[in-house]
Each structure stands twice: as C-alpha cells, then as structure tokens.
Amino acid sequence: MKHLNEAELIEHYYEESADTAERERHLKACPACAKSYAELRRDLDAVKPLAPPARGEGYGDQVWQSLRASLPVYEKPRRRTLSQFWQPLAWATACAMLVAVAFYAGRQWQRKQTPAVAVAVDPHARQRVVIVVLGDHLDRSERLLVALNHAGANDAWEATPLRSEARELLATNRLVRQSAIETGDLGAEASLDRLERLLVELANEPDGQSEADLNRLRQEMNTDGLLFDIRVLRSRVNSPAIELQGASNSTKGASI
C-alpha cells in the first residue's frame, strides 16, 4: 500500500485533491496515514484566521475622501469623425510614397555614378603596382644570390633559409617572366629564365651538401653573372625614365 505524502495530505486538507473519495478510503484503511493526517489537521486547525480590527460603516467614505484628490479625471473618449478615420491611412500612404520616391532617386543616382567610377580608375596605378612588385622581387633575388655566393660549405652552409626563400621567389619569378615575354623584353626574359632555373635547383637542394657541390652549383648556374644581370634589371626598374616609359605604354606591364 502506498502511503500519502505530506503534499497529498495538505491537498486533501484543503479539498483540492482530484481523487478525494479514494484518499478518504485510504485514510480509513491506513492507520499510519490517518495518524499523519490527524496531526496535520491539528496543526492547521490551530492556526485560526486573523480577525481584522473592525471598520465602521463609513469606512468606504473615509477611504474615498483620502483618495479623491489624487485621482485624475478620465478624459471622455471622443467619437471618431470620418476625417479622423482617414487620417492614419493618409499618413501611411504618404510615408509609403516617400519611401518609393527615395528608392527611385537612389537608383537613378547610383546609375549616373557608376560610369564615373569606371572612368576614375587611374591607368598608371596598375603600372606602379607592377613596378613595385617587380622591384621587390629583384631585390630579394639579388640578396639570395649574394648569400649563395658568399656561403661557405664547411658546415656554415645552411640550406634551409635559402631553400625556403628560393621556393617563395619561384612563384613570383614565373609571373614576372611571363610578363616579360608578353611585353617582348627578351633580355629580361632570358635573365629571369636563368634565375628561375637556379631557384628550382635551390628549392630542391637536399640537405648535407659539400663544398664541392656548392661550387659546382655556382659554376653551372654562373651565379656571379646572374647577379650582375639582376642588378642591371633592378637598376632599370628603379630608373624614373623607364617608369615614365612604362606609364606611357600600358601594354608594357612589367616595364622591363
């Protein structure tokens, strides 16, 4: 037999349980629950409702008198005329029209502005960017060649930094060489081709190279001659005359 818990007994006391009859039967049949319920009733019956101090017949009047001055009078609701009914609708229509006109004007303005933006593109800007990139590339290539020419093989030869630098330069060199081919600058193209072959060799150089290997690479690739070519190219790029020439002919993208 399942006993009633305190919550169920309280519910029963306040006659709020859904199955009052069943609980009544259980309380008659179960002495433990009957005892608990008797104790609950004793406790709750002992708590008598507080009797409020008496208030006379005129209490309502007293309350009213003390309140009246602080109560604002409600405004009489005004009847809506036909014009008042249409007023919100007119406002809504006006707002919608305003939004539509603003949208249309915005579209027209944008359409007029678009060609102007296209015309405003500076044709020399792209050229200047190419020159800067090319100058940076040649500068880095020159430093790499200087490092390679002065590297000693007796354990001072650290292939890793040169190898990673060569890998980075390789991608740029291909683009620059392609640009030189397109502009018909065959001298530059030849130098950049030689540089590319050296960069490929360096990028794939295994660890543990001897001094003989290093010398062989220098000789085969003629790194001294290549360094000279790169310096010549760099001087051409930095020359203001060349830059002007490049600016005057937009097809000479690399201006080499």
Binding site: E6, E11, E16, A46, V47, P52, D61, P77
Partner: protein, 191 residues
C-alpha cells in the same frame, strides 16, 4: 447621485467616461474586503490601511484596461493581495531584525508559556508561534498561505493574484505549511 445597486461594469464605464465620483461606489463596496485581506497578509493595521489606499489607486489607474475576464470583485481582490504582498516585501528586511525572530528569544517565550497549562495560554503560544513562522516565510509563501488558509481561495485564484503558475502557488502553500508545522511541533511534544 449613484445608488449602491448599480453594477460594477456600469460604474466602470461611467468612471472611464470622465465621472470620477462614480468610483466612490466601488470604493465603498469593496473597501472592507480589501482591508480584511490586506490585514491578514500584512499582519498590522497601518500597513493594511496603506494597502487599501494603494489598491484603490492602482485599480482606478487600470480601470480603462479592465477587460472583464474575471469579475470586478476578483480583479480588485487580486490587486489588493498584490499591494499587500508588495508592502510585506518592503517591510520584511526591517522585521527580520526584530527580536521576535531571534531563536533564543523564542525559546525564552516558550519556557515561560510552558509553565501555564491553561487553554488561553496555549492559544497565545500558538499565535506567537504562528507569527514567528509567518516571519520566516517569504512574502510569496506568506501571501499564498493567507489566501489559501484564511481566505479560502483556490490554487488558481492564488496563482492569478500573485502572477505565478498554479503549480508554483501550490508549492508556496506547501512550503508555508511545512514551516508552520515545524514551528508548532515543540508545542505538541511538550503538551
């Protein structure tokens, strides 16, 4: 001059239409009930008076929004319970400092009362214990218990008055009864 038999709804319409004095009938009609419930919740006369004023002020301000889902009597009753609860919540920190809440003091009172076996003294002791138990309740538990035990309101009515879920109202009554019984328990052991 309005008569007392006029319906609550027609009075409400009159007030909302600008007849402020029509509200006097509602005040007269419900002030006693409002005072009673406020007194039982707050436990003292001056707080109950304050709750009465606040109740009729709030009712007047919200009269235009009264939708008639319940009777006007129930609506005002809920506002009254809420106002009284607010007052109890505001007052509670002060009363907690009072000596009635000091456990040692309670023991002293119990020791004195145990000496007298007479019924009157037992009633006084029960009342003292009830007051002590009530001060241990949260304002919501206290209000829920008063509405349930003294005002004989259903769980749904209590929930509506306190703006809580019916289950929360039931739990509040349950916790209040438990605390009250714990407070009264020593009396039965000693008697």
């Amino acid at each position: 001059m309005r008569c007392m038999e006029e319906s609550d709804d027609s009075i409400r319409r009159a007030v909302v239409s600008g007849d402020r004095d029509a509200y006097k009938v509602l005040v007269a009609r419900y002030s006693q009930v409002v005072f009673r419930v406020a007194y039982r919740i707050t436990g003292n006369e001056s707080d109950a008076e304050e709750a009465v004023q606040e109740t009729f002020l709030r009712s007047y301000q919200k009269l235009a929004n009264f939708e008639g889902r319940s009777t006007m009597a129930t609506w005002i009753y809920r506002i009254a319970a809420n106002c009284a609860l607010d007052i109890v919540s505001r007052r509670r920190p002060e009363t907690r400092i009072g000596e009635e809440n000091d456990p040692e003091q309670r023991e002293v009172q119990l020791a004195d009362n145990q000496a007298g076996p007479d019924r009157l003294l037992l009633s006084r002791e029960i009342e003292a214990r009830r007051q002590a138990a009530m001060s241990d309740l949260t304002p919501t538990e206290q209000t829920a218990f008063v509405l349930r035990h003294m005002e004989d309101r259903s769980t749904e009515e209590i929930a509506a008055a306190l703006n809580i879920a019916p289950n929360a109202a039931k739990q509040a009554v349950f916790r209040a009864v438990q605390k009250l019984r714990r407070q009264l328990a020593p009396l039965w052991v000693n008697s």
